[in-house]
Symmetry: D3
Subunit: 237 residues, 6 copies
């Protein structure tokens, strides 16, 4: 992902991106049930690095292999590139943590942008202490070994009911996490940035007491006033 | 709704109102899954103004009509009276936002008491920045157009599994949102206010180490002590 | 429960305890959907005192019996020993509160360690004001009488899909609540305490930029370094 | 339960009984998700004998105790009286069978009226071959030992979200299973029997082309005609 | 609805209609969880007549009004035109019956095409005895008065998560129920009829052992053979 | 899979196999929500051939590619070996059909043992007419293209919450579908066959009126009688 695109995506809300995708006929992009571990993380954006778990089965579990560096989970922790978003499929297993504080710390040190999963995170207090942006389907004490087995990495996955492919753009903020098809990322970032500037102007008008009629969405007159405001350097008031 | 009743309802918790309704044989009034966007909003109370969405269907959607001022949503934003509570039915569509920061700002400017919905709110950070009391089934990035179509306004609706009719009293606080049948609002507000005064006295006794037996609920002796406390001006200690 | 064991359990996270139980072949111990009323309560740990509700049935409800001191709920409030954890089964009735601020205050005064339930708590603002640690399936305004009837106390129960027997150790923190079979409590507390000391060392290494390979889980070299660190008095740096 | 009452209850549909209970203010009696293993079993009715399972926990399971005659399940199979209905609580564990063909056969031989559970039945083909009336939340291959442990017998239980006490009347047919508070059984049986006779008359009128207005529910004229029809010996036509 | 269109729709499966709508960009038309009361009813098709229930609330219920001919339910039973499909919204209340055998009989006598609901039907044995085509979300003993109140009729509704408007075409068979926007009904009926003729030919080829490659979907050669088969009068063999 | 093993597995119920696996410490093998399209199919057993769908996303759908022979679905239809069981992951998408009558017919012609999916089947009437054994999570009219996209084939998958790997043994009957780890298939088949012979003897005893105590499970005396019965050629009576 181009650095400029990534910066722009970090500056545009998932709400705005979602609207830009809707206008392009793309709806099925918002991950159900995925929320930030706490409100107010900086927005994250980057290409998806995917990790997949499968349901626990006794014969596929070996207690001696806990923490095996060859497992997909451990390889993802060490191999997901700096700037990427680690996206984890669990088939909605919110009763099992997919990572805890030490792995979150390692991802932070390695410069990975953040984690998005429809499963749970464990050691929530520790992860918050590390202050690493994690967006998950819940919080749970048990480790992945309690309810999941290795399902591979860098595969196409489903997360929160949404298909994510390695390299798709993923953006997450207080509204949750969405995926942007890779080839739309630049265009959506730009259009979203412009939409948000317009909405700042509109919010200013609404705050002054104007009705939304003719303002949101803007009619020609409002658009002209917006253009003048932009030309004037977007004055605070 | 009478101003005095509205003030009283703002001063009585939904927990207390629920108990007063239970004593009158009314149970089915608490909206499942509806929670404040953040803890600690001032309690809201007012007559319901209702808005209804229906599930998305491709032939009922026209991208050119996004933000149409004649839509039920936009009319509700401009027409819900100051002091009313905007209650929104979505059939539990928590993956789609029913309003965002600009519409919340407009409602705030217009003096609408707050919003209650079993759907989601979008642009959560923006709505919190506006500091407008919203009680919802969740948070989601996509706009209503992503998953909902117009279902009318000022109809009887279902919100959180509870029937709400225009003009019913709706109260919401950190425990969630409940509806009070319009003709019981004044009586329940008064009885609730009295119940909470009694409970402040009881809490004072329990804090001093008294068992709940004979105190909560109060026996004759406790009731007499309560009366004396009220007559003494409800001293802090 | 031995005081030393209880102290140790209060010092070990549910994530760590869960891993210690997993290593002993015990997986089915984490209560689904049970979360702290707010983040950051001190961790609670103690032997379970159990309370059970059953679904509401009109003929089993008598409005005159609200608050009956002979009910299982009220007896539990007065009889659960200091240091015990009150665990409440509701069959997942998250639309009905099992206790509110006055009962929480009474439990606090009595020295009961905290409350764990798969049902809801009501009067959340009041319970938070009392600052009593409650772990619940949700928040709801209605009282237990709205949707539940007496189901007994000090029985084996199911809470959050987990079997809890009177006297089992229950621990709860920001990751949720887990049960430890009574006869494993001491052993797990000790092993967990040791595991967390090791993980503090590992986190220190990872913070310094080391890969997790060979560190987490530790190989012989890392284990030796850990031993040296322990022998040196666990220096901060 | 009086034999006459039991016979009457076997002759009255759960739909009719539910309406008779509703008219007496009792609504919370129909077990959600409980259905006959196949359509068309003879309706069953009798006093409840209750059995309770709790969620599986590894330390409470002993492979050597499979089929232990002292378990609550096996005692229930041998001790539930002829004519009683065995009602089994599983907290909705529809992925685990609570009994199979051999136990069903034993219950049949012993004259137990039938089984009602919110869990699953296993060996469905075998149970159907035995032709024993079972009403369950589903069908599943695994035995109870796969996901459940002993939770006692002849306790008050919850089945399908409804409280059932030993001795309550339980009736089940193609519409599912309902409970009747013990002291209402005789009265409801009688009133239900009368209601169904009236509805046979009404159905006859409707089949002849009459509007439901004035007929269902019946006005005075229709009631008079009904009386005449009864006095005439309820002629087929 | 034109009689010819209605006849054609009765002859085309919901699977085929769904594919025809998909090819026209319409996906959100299949009602989740709605199934025939038994397999093998003749397929029903007709314009929707809508009925809406809302959740039960004690103050909106009057036992004396049970069966009130002025209620929306009773008016729908008497007023839905012959040939129409009665579609009933319950917000997924599968624990409450929306109609039973007598009302089904009346609808049959009046020539109403059938019933589709996301709620339950009661008196299943009786409705099956009447042999009236009902497609529902489940079976339950209690009457609508047990859990629902009047929500109006001939409104736009949501049924099984799909928006249905009065006059939309509704088709139901063993695969469930779908809605066709009114202005697409004729076109879809025709195209669906043609698709099914083609698929009969394809099935004939596949039964003879041909691979689906080039056959399903058909390539030019297969299309030519199909044309020849049609021209030859669609010989059985 | 060895032919003898496959024959044995077809002769042993999933209930019995599940018990044999439980005795070997394997529990997580029964697919939740997967049921036969109708009761009474011959039991199917064979090595898994896996197919995976992912959630629909607009940019991954091309209407011109419907039926593309290079898609994983079509390749699975043509490539799954005779005798194998086609197992399809949909993440529980029961509102979308994964195959219909023509593809079922092709699988039948090709000798594929049957289909198991946690998604839906469409054209249920047609599939039943073909009389091909399908075990699914439901029935729905829409085609896979309505809600799913290609997710690959012959991958490890999750079906009904159970991990299935290509080559694992899958068995399905009226109790649903289970997976047997490949290397346990022969042993479990043999032990299951023996268990069922014993249970036939036990059922004979129970039918004659014997208590289950000492019989089920059998004590030494019963085991001796069983041995004698086997030695006598398993006489009917």
């Amino acid at each position: 992902m181009d650095d400029g695109v990534q910066s722009r995506l970090r500056a545009v809300s998932t709400a705005t991106i979602s609207m830009q995708l809707l206008k392009r006929g793309i709806r099925a992009v918002s991950m159900a049930g995925v929320a930030p571990l706490r409100r107010g993380f900086p927005r994250i954006a980057g290409p998806a690095y995917t990790l997949r778990f499968l349901p626990f089965r006794e014969d596929l579990f070996d207690v001696a292999k806990i923490g095996d560096p060859e497992s997909s989970q451990r390889r993802a922790i060490e191999e997901a590139p700096a700037g990427s978003v680690l996206v984890i499929e669990t088939h909605g297993a919110t009763d099992t943590g997919t990572l805890g504080d030490i792995l979150a710390l390692r991802l932070k040190v390695r410069g990975v942008e953040g984690v998005v999963t429809d499963g749970a995170v464990r050691d929530a207090a520790g992860v918050l202490a590390v202050d690493y942006p994690v967006f998950a389907g819940g919080v749970a004490a048990p480790a992945s070994y309690n309810g999941l087995v290795d399902g591979g990495h860098q595969l196409d996955i489903s997360c929160g009911g949404v298909t994510v492919r390695p390299g798709d753009a993923v953006v997450a903020d207080d509204d949750g996490a969405i995926v942007i098809p890779a080839d739309l990322a630049a265009e959506v970032a730009e259009a979203g940035w412009e939409q948000e500037r317009l909405e700042r102007f509109i919010a200013r008008e609404v705050a002054r007491g104007r009705s939304i009629v003719g303002v949101y969405p803007p009619n020609d007159e409002t658009r002209a006033a917006y253009r003048a405001w932009v030309d004037a350097g977007e004055p605070e008031d």
